[in-house]
């Protein structure tokens, strides 16, 4: 009987090392260790032995089972090692990708997001107002004379009832101050403005503006300068020169235009006009007071600064985009460039 066991052990040992693959190995395992395997049937013979011989037989049986299991594991390991060694064979890493669809955010969104992030870090909260506006919010409250050219139907889109499409986001200054419950007011308002204009490389009938307003008891030119200088140095790089050129807007006094000195590779340094700003004109505060019916924004008690810039222009400068129309054409070959 023990002879039989030895015989099984020998043939198994010989065979295990030469099994060609994992299927053969599994087949081998079933043949020897499976329910109907050789060792299992050998074990069944134990009941025919004399009780005195059984322990020795049992011990031998266990030894052989362990040995065959070990041989199987050893062979499995070497087969896996061989398969792993083959795994990279035939793969050509220089072939092109299997890619997934790639999306993108519109360049105007990216520029706006960056501006908004920067100004939020500087403590501005967002504000908004309607794009269909009253003439009062768009012009009167912003100290625009009654016969100002911007009010004309040739320049501004109107609706039959007298409402209009806002020509600037400065309307949000008025909307915000009208509904503010306390000071300070420190807001930015991105949004669309509309002008009745011929569409060409540098003109459109609508564009994205970013408006800002800070009103408190003691807000002056120092705040205006510090804030906007810091802002443009984030947008255009630290050390960027920022200059404030006196200008005129009806709703600020004094008023400035802001230029930054651009240092584009391959181009001469140049000053580029980038924004308008100024201290809120007392007439604007007076209009807000009249509308609110209280004195929270009385021109003797509060001062403030306001600024506005064209996001389209910012994006054109930052990305070197020559034609405004590309923004609204939304050609995916264009959009992909900013993915």
């Amino acid at each position: 009987m023990l002879e039989d066991l030895e015989q099984i052990h020998r043939s198994a040992s010989n065979e295990a090392a030469s099994l060609p693959d994992e299927t053969a190995l599994e087949d081998f395992r079933v043949r020897y260790l499976g329910k109907k395997g050789a060792l299992t049937s050998a074990a069944a013979q134990m009941k025919d032995l004399a009780p005195a011989d059984r322990p020795a037989f049992g011990q031998k049986l266990n030894e052989i089972r362990s040995a065959i299991s070990a041989a199987i594991e050893e062979r499995r390991a070497s087969l896996l090692a061989a398969r792993d060694a083959r795994a990279a064979r035939g793969i050509d890493p220089t072939l092109p990708a299997r890619s997934l669809p790639q999306g993108s955010l519109h360049p105007l969104s990216q520029v706006l997001d960056r501006a908004v992030d920067t100004l939020r870090r500087m403590g501005f909260a967002l504000a908004e107002g309607p794009e269909i506006e009253t003439e009062w919010h768009c012009f009167d409250a912003l100290n625009t004379p009654p016969d100002h050219p911007a009010r004309k139907e040739s320049d501004t889109y109107y609706f039959p009832g007298g409402n209009l499409l806002r020509t600037h986001t400065s309307t949000v200054q008025i909307r915000t101050m009208e509904s503010a419950s306390s000071l300070p007011v420190r807001i930015i308002a991105p949004g669309t403005a509309f002008r009745r204009d011929e569409i060409d490389e540098t003109h459109s009938i609508s564009f994205t503006q970013l408006e800002g307003l800070f009103v408190d008891r003691e807000v002056g030119l120092a705040d205006l300068k510090g804030t906007l200088e810091a802002f443009f140095q984030v947008i255009f790089g630290s050390g960027t020169e920022v200059r404030f050129r006196p200008h005129f807007f009806p709703f600020t006094e004094p008023s400035f235009e802001i230029d930054v000195k651009l240092k584009t590779v391959g181009r001469a340094e140049r000053w580029v006009e980038i924004a308008g700003c100024g201290l809120v004109d007392p007439a604007v505060f007076a209009a807000v007071c009249q509308s609110r019916g209280d004195d929270l924004f009385h021109p003797d008690r509060v001062t403030g600064f306001a600024f506005g810039m064209g996001v389209d222009r910012l994006a054109m400068i930052q990305y070197g985009i020559p034609d405004l129309r590309l923004f609204n054409e939304n050609d995916v070959r264009f959009l992909r460039q900013f993915a």
Partner: protein
């Protein structure tokens, strides 16, 4: 406003300032330099000594010119407007004329050692009709830069009409640089004149014209102006006409006061300043006839309108070579009324430009006097009597208090009172006991804040230290909404979608493609004064514009498209109130992934993919798509997120898709941002993770082809079977031929997952639950199991 440096030099000595210094000075003071006309280098004055026809070209001449050197220079020239002896500009080799660098070369075989130039070639005017003929007193060889000193093209802001003259600019430059003016800052009138008799001037429209004056000059000899005057006008782009007209233009550009000269013999009766009659005809100096309205002010005689007040003179009474007697008008017009007239008739003149912004009332009479003096000097004749006038000039006596506290508050840093005083004095303001007296020409200084502005402008922001501390402001509702939209944008970008931004005005035709708006009971808003048909309506939805973008991209060769836009849509409520909402729209069509060697025929984006996309946009939320009928869509479904309707999804009619050149499914969705935000608003709560293994059972269900799949998933969802954890459709089989399955049936294979939260399930437990569930399913729906 064009300003000639030489002209400015009549008023103050700017010779120490270079052109870039001047430009920087003006810019820093808020006077934007839009351009500097500067003649090119290497251009000199030359005298034409001889001119002969080119041997081989009829249209060319060969000239010998004196360029100031010892030997004559030979130039081949195509112009015809000169005579031998004329002085003309000569570009020497090396000069840059436009984009061309002048070289010695041969023209039709004859050597030309330079080029004779027209005014246009030198960038001086549009006149390209021939050579620019120069005064003969300029010695040959004189650098042309001395003949035509630079001219600045300046943008004057509307608050500073006082800068619309050389005198005004000189005053400003003097204040900014400290360089003394050579003459007093204002002209003063020596002859006060007398009030006009009503037969002389009848001032009926005092609303538009508060003051009107006239001087009569007789025996005037009209003719060409002297060179100095012609040069001055030409340098700033004005065409010389005759001495009298040139003088009025000169005074306009010198002092900023528009004047008009009438041929007195062509006027009948006295001057009447009145409103025009409805439909009154007026033919202006430029020959155009205008139909006037009672809102226009005219200067008339007994025959009719002879000038459109403050805007333009008339054709029938202008000064010509035949004129001997003139009436010189100097008046003050109300800015807003001139602006309206000028815009109404589309006539924009140097005169209307200045009256619209406001002229210096104190100089009206002085300007007329200065002009009359020049006429006498250059055209002879004599004054008849004293000037006569009617009406009243606006008061110029204004005193504005300087509020030191305001000054400190606005400037944010203390500027010494002495410095403030120095700045204001430099601008001609005079300190008085109750404030600062404002000069008559500074119409813009009326309030304390205007004085602060003046100080800030000169002091300069660069000398004020910037401040960056600020109070804390809590985030707003607008902040939350912006962040929500931004998260959505970012997520869509990651899902392969390109963000678009389109113009919010669309065409009427596009409204028909507005397949997906949720406010169909609202009407689209049309602007009253559209500019062009493509931009007539405010978009009621984003889909029409996105489909237009898809069309463009298909035409450009891309038909695998995933586009989205987030933005405002507009409509009018039933009561006519405008409504503005934020929407998200998606358009998807084409292959699910770019074809590659690994997947050469990827599946197309279809309704199931759109549903998958919506699920990815709303993670953790139950998405329902409830089919609805919409004749404009092949498939349409309301989108519900977490039980609330948020928008509409659909597949375009194949005909619509083909009209976009797409022969493949085009999926669209349009969603209200506010509704989506509400549906996704509550933060996720933690659910304990399952501890025990799950067991799955598959079932193939045969159902009528028209039974919505939703009926089965709804059954599972609401089955109440406690062990059923989840269910998943993993196969759909139909056979239109009817061989393997009846054509009106479909087979749906579902995989059901069972799990207990408290124990490891045994197979019999699961089998029992599965059996119960299927029995109930069979009872509930017209289905069988395969």
């Amino acid at each position: 406003m064009k300003a000639s440096l030489r002209w400015l030099n009549d008023h103050l000595d700017l010779s120490a300032k270079s052109i870039p210094e001047m430009a920087a000075l003006l810019t820093a003071a808020g006077i934007e330099v839009e351009g500097i006309q500067c003649p090119p280098d290497h251009v000199v004055v030359a005298r034409i000594e001889s001119s002969e026809r080119h041997p081989d070209a009829d249209k060319l001449s060969v000239c010998q010119v004196n360029d100031g050197g010892a030997t004559p220079r030979q130039i081949v020239c195509g112009a015809k407007n000169y005579e031998v002896g004329d002085h003309v500009p000569l570009a020497l080799p090396g000069a840059r004329i436009g984009d061309m660098v002048i070289k010695t070369g041969k023209l039709r075989g004859v050597e030309s050692q330079g080029m004779l130039c027209s005014a246009r070639e030198l960038g001086l005017s549009e006149d390209a009709s021939g050579l620019l003929i120069l005064p003969r007193d300029l010695p040959p060889g004189t650098s042309f830069a001395q003949v035509h000193p630079p001219v600045f093209d300046l943008e004057i802001t509307p608050n500073r009409p006082d800068l619309l003259s050389h005198l005004g600019l000189a005053r400003e430059l003097s204040a900014l640089t400290g360089i003394r003016l050579k003459r007093p800052p204002v002209f003063t009138s020596t002859a006060p004149g007398r009030a006009a008799k009503s037969s002389e001037i009848s001032l009926q429209d005092r609303e538009t014209c508060s003051f009107y004056s006239a001087r009569i000059l007789r025996g005037v000899k009209v003719g060409p102006s002297p060179d100095w005057l012609r040069d001055k006008l030409q340098a700033i782009g004005l065409r010389p006409i005759n001495n009298v007209v040139d003088i009025t233009n000169f005074i306009l550009m010198e002092m900023g006061q528009p004047l008009h000269a009438f041929d007195l013999s062509l006027l009948k009766g006295g001057i009447r300043v009145r409103r025009a009659g409805e439909g009154e005809k007026f033919t202006a100096l430029d020959g155009r006839t205008h139909l006037l309205t009672p809102d226009d002010c005219v200067i008339a005689d007994s025959k009719g309108a002879q000038a459109l007040g403050g805007v333009m003179g008339g054709e029938s009474s202008g000064v010509t070579e035949a004129t001997t007697d003139i009436l010189l008008e100097a008046a003050y017009f109300e800015p807003s009324l001139i602006r309206r007239t000028s815009h109404r008739h589309g006539i924009h003149t140097d005169s209307s430009y200045r009256f619209e912004r406001g002229v210096d009332p104190a100089q009206v009479m002085a300007a007329s006097e200065a002009a009359a003096r020049l006429v006498l000097e250059l055209a002879g004749g004599q004054l008849e009597g004293v000037p006569v006038w009617c009406g009243e000039l606006p008061s110029t006596s204004v005193t504005v208090p300087l509020d030191n506290a305001l000054c400190r508050r606005l400037l944010g840093s203390p500027i010494p009172p002495a410095e403030i005083g120095r700045i204001l004095k430099a601008f001609g303001l005079q300190k008085e006991s109750d404030g600062w007296r404002i000069p008559s020409y500074r119409l813009d200084l009326r309030r304390p804040v205007d004085l602060v502005e003046e100080v800030a402008r000169v002091h300069g922001l660069d000398r004020i230290p910037g401040k960056t501390t600020a109070p804390f402001v809590p985030p707003s509702r607008a902040d939350q909404e912006y962040d929500f939209r931004r998260a959505l944008r970012t997520r869509l970008g990651h899902l392969g979608f390109h963000e678009c931004q389109t113009i919010k005005l669309i065409s009427e035709a596009q409204l028909a493609l507005d397949v997906a708006t949720q406010h169909r009971n609202l009407s689209p808003l049309r602007v009253k004064n559209p500019m062009t048909e493509p931009h007539t309506f405010l978009r009621p939805g984003l889909t029409p514009s996105l489909l237009r973008i898809a069309e463009h991209n298909v035409r450009m060769g891309t038909s695998d498209l995933r586009l989205f836009e987030i933005g405002t849509v507009f409509a009018a409520s039933p009561k006519g109130q405008p409504i503005e909402l934020q929407h998200l729209a998606l358009v998807a069509t084409g292959r699910l992934e770019p074809p590659s060697w690994r997947a050469s025929k990827p599946d197309l984006f279809d309704f199931a993919a759109l549903r998958g996309l919506l699920e990815q946009l709303c993670p953790g939320q139950a998405i329902d798509l409830l089919p609805i009928e919409d004749p404009r869509l092949l498939l349409a479904a309301e989108i519900k997120v977490g039980g609330g309707k948020v928008g509409l999804a659909g597949c375009l009619l194949p005909a619509t898709a083909r009209s976009l050149d797409l022969d493949q499914p085009v999926l669209v969705a349009e969603i209200g941002i506010k509704k989506l935000m509400a549906a996704l608003g509550s933060p996720s709560l933690f659910h304990p993770l399952p501890r025990f293994p799950a067991i799955t059972r598959d079932v193939a269900i045969e159902a009528p082809a028209d039974l919505p799949g939703q009926a089965i998933s709804d059954f599972f969802q609401s089955s109440g079977e406690p062990l059923l954890e989840s269910f998943r459709l993993f196969d759909l089989f139909v056979d239109p031929t009817g061989t393997r399955l009846a054509a009106d049936r479909k087979s749906l294979a579902w995989s059901l997952t069972y799990r207990s939260a408290t124990e490891t399930l045994a197979a019999p437990q699961v089998d029992a639950a599965h059996g119960r569930l299927l029995d109930r399913l069979k009872a509930a729906l017209p289905i069988t199991f395969r």
